[in-house]
């Protein structure tokens, strides 16, 4: 059972797998996002409270969920790389950081655009958006630390440790922000009594979430190839890899 895990540790194998999987990820992502957008913008009925403004959740919720998930993936990859000294872990972490940061920014922008009709201002220090903002700071911290070192290997390890320390703090930050200001209306999707939305509203949202996840997979596959090449000494397999 463990063989695939060990194979995942070898850079040439990861490079080939990433190159092979990328088209599948991208294709499926296009399909699911396409369906989600059409379902969400055209067929889903307007919300009884917010009217058509609620359609922003079809981009806000997936990017918000992804922003935290990608940070967690980055932290897990960093922990694996630190503990077992697997260089591919650093490559995955370095590749995930910009994607996660851009999705966090997307969540922030769409969240404040969604807030305007509801609260009358673009920024009302809503706990969910404030946590997203702090998450963006954590991403920027990890990325700038990685690039601050001349020796890339040390930059990787320093950023990896910061990612692990950061992921421990994400729930703490979120709890403290919510404790500080419980103004935000309960999230329509993840609530105790299950989604308040009708199925015609819900399915497009789940499809968008799946689409964004697959899209993350696709971009990760591209970036990981670059990061693996960068970290790979002048070993034989790199020569073939560059030709393709």
């Amino acid at each position: 059972m463990w063989t695939w895990f060990y194979k995942l540790a070898s850079p040439p194998y990861v490079y080939r797998v990433a190159a092979a999987l990328m088209p599948w990820f991208l294709g499926l992502a296009a399909v699911t996002i396409g369906y989600g957008l059409i379902g969400g913008l055209v067929f889903a009925p307007p919300d009884y409270q917010q009217g058509d403004a609620f359609r922003i959740i079809y981009v806000h919720v997936p990017s918000a969920i992804l922003s935290v998930t990608v940070y967690t993936i980055m932290a897990v990859a960093s922990a694996i790389a630190l503990i077992w000294r697997i260089k591919v872990g650093h490559a995955v972490a370095a590749a995930s950081a910009p994607i996660g940061a851009s999705l966090t920014l997307l969540a922030l922008v769409t969240g404040s655009m969604w807030g305007k009709p509801m609260w009358g201002t673009y920024w009302a220090w809503d706990p969910r958006l404030t946590s997203e903002l702090i998450l963006l700071f954590l991403y920027v911290g990890v990325m700038s630390l990685r690039s601050a070192f001349e020796d890339p290997a040390r930059g990787d390890r320093a950023a990896a440790l910061l990612a692990v320390v950061g992921v421990v703090n994400v729930p703490i930050v979120h709890f403290s922000v919510v404790w500080w200001n419980s103004l935000h209306q309960g999230s329509t999707l993840v609530t105790l009594e299950g989604p308040k939305m009708q199925s015609s509203m819900l399915w497009p949202l789940l499809s968008m979430l799946l689409g964004f996840t697959l899209f993350y997979g696709a971009v990760l596959c591209i970036r990981v190839q670059g990061e693996v090449l960068q970290r790979e000494r002048q070993s034989a397999w790199v020569r073939e890899a560059i030709k393709s």
């Binding site: 990017s63 899209f215 971009v219 591209i222």
Partner: protein, 57 residues
Amino acid sequence: MSGGGFWYMGGYARYVWPCIGFAGVVLVWNLWSARRSLAAAKIRASRALAMAASEAR
């Protein structure tokens, strides 16, 4: 759909379409910058290989 066509978004067009647009920009940027960083990595790797080859001779 109430008042105005699909594009009117029930009066919230000013908020919905910029969000969709910005989401598109973020997705496209991700793909573009990923491809660019992969291409740059390949060039750097080939240059390093060439240097290593010249040192070996």
